[in-house]
Symmetry: C2
Subunit: 194 residues, 2 copies
DNA sequence: GTCTATATAGTGATAGAC
DNA sequence: GTCTATCACTATATAGAC
């Protein structure tokens, strides 16, 4: 169980959790370390014992959260044997994750990490994107999906859902995403099927 | 001609242009008013004569840029008579705009305005989105597009392109977007055509 | 309209006791 | 591990001359 799923007594996790919530509601730059201190109900000193600086909080958050999502996507892929079912499962997972933990999805997929982390900026969701790209390429190779250039295939398939998630996180879309999942999947599949 | 298209002698426009460029390269919060001052080659005092504060610079930028894009989309719509051609034209316009003025697209579509503008946050690209939504709804009504819920239709149609633009702006996609336009359009159309 | 110089506040970060 | 108190600095914003 990760820190974002349960309210931990562990103070380090409380700090991370508080930071994540504040980054979501106020944004990284408008969140001061004092804000995090207050929300996590710990002292400033403790925060700087666990983390070198504010940036390292964000970096830790990014690594732990994206690793968690990565593992879940891997599981979804392992549970199915073709690209159709795999991508369907990933889309459903995204939809549910957005409803359950919008702050996680927001931070991993829609935060401008290059602005936050000047040093060694992780390519945005690099590992996750690589996994999905690979899955889609397999689908093209085995004839499930129509031939497309690598750059166009990913966005064509999952771009619609990503956009919907973005709008949902911004409060533009009111419906819970699982409600719209079937429709979005239909569009996505039509877009790329062979 | 807007301030972002030509290097103006007008100092107010120079300030806006400098701010836009810096917001793109460093991000809004990492850009200080002194940075803008330096880049625009004016004094601090002058900036605060034209704009109440840094936030108002961003707000002005948002209004003027999105108005400009809005008008261009309106033109594209007016030049065609059906949803197919209209949306095709909008996609082509987006692709070209991203190549010509990435800073404009980045600021209008992918900046987290709620974090920047705490007071009266404009619904992200509200007017533009309304126009596109309306165009798509027409297409559904007249049978060009298959029936879909309003929330799903927009993302299904243009979400792929929006995602591709996002990746391009982040430096993940290397190809100029007009190169990928045909492929992206094919996917988009398959996703929503009746 | 345009400039320089300065006040003010708040933030990231540290020191050091317990 | 955990706390309080405090520092040093930067950035926003203003005052006021030209």
């Amino acid at each position: 169980m990760s820190f974002y799923e349960t309210s931990s007594k562990n103070k380090r996790d409380r700090i991370l959790h508080a930071a994540l919530m504040l980054f979501r509601s106020k944004g990284y730059f408008k969140t001061s370390v004092h804000d995090i201190r207050e929300q996590a109900d710990v002292s400033i000193g403790l925060i700087y014992r666990y983390f070198k600086n504010k940036e390292e909080i964000a970096q830790t958050l990014y690594q732990e959260l994206s690793e968690d999502v990565f593992v879940n996507i891997e599981k979804n892929i392992a549970q199915h044997t073709n690209t159709h079912d795999r991508c369907r499962a990933i889309m459903a997972y995204y939809a549910q994750l957005t409803e359950d933990f919008p702050e996680v999805v927001d931070f991993i997929f829609f935060t401008r990490h290059k602005e936050i982390l000047p040093t060694a900026p992780p390519v945005c969701t690099g590992k996750i994107q690589g996994l999905i790209r690979q899955t889609i390429q397999e689908g093209i190779k085995n004839g499930e999906l129509r031939p497309m250039s690598p750059a166009a295939a990913g966005p064509s398939f999952l771009g619609g859902m990503m956009r919907l998630i973005h709008l949902r996180l911004m409060g533009v879309v009111q419906e819970p995403l699982p409600t719209l999942l079937e429709e979005m999947w239909e569009s996505a599949w039509r877009a790329v099927k062979a």
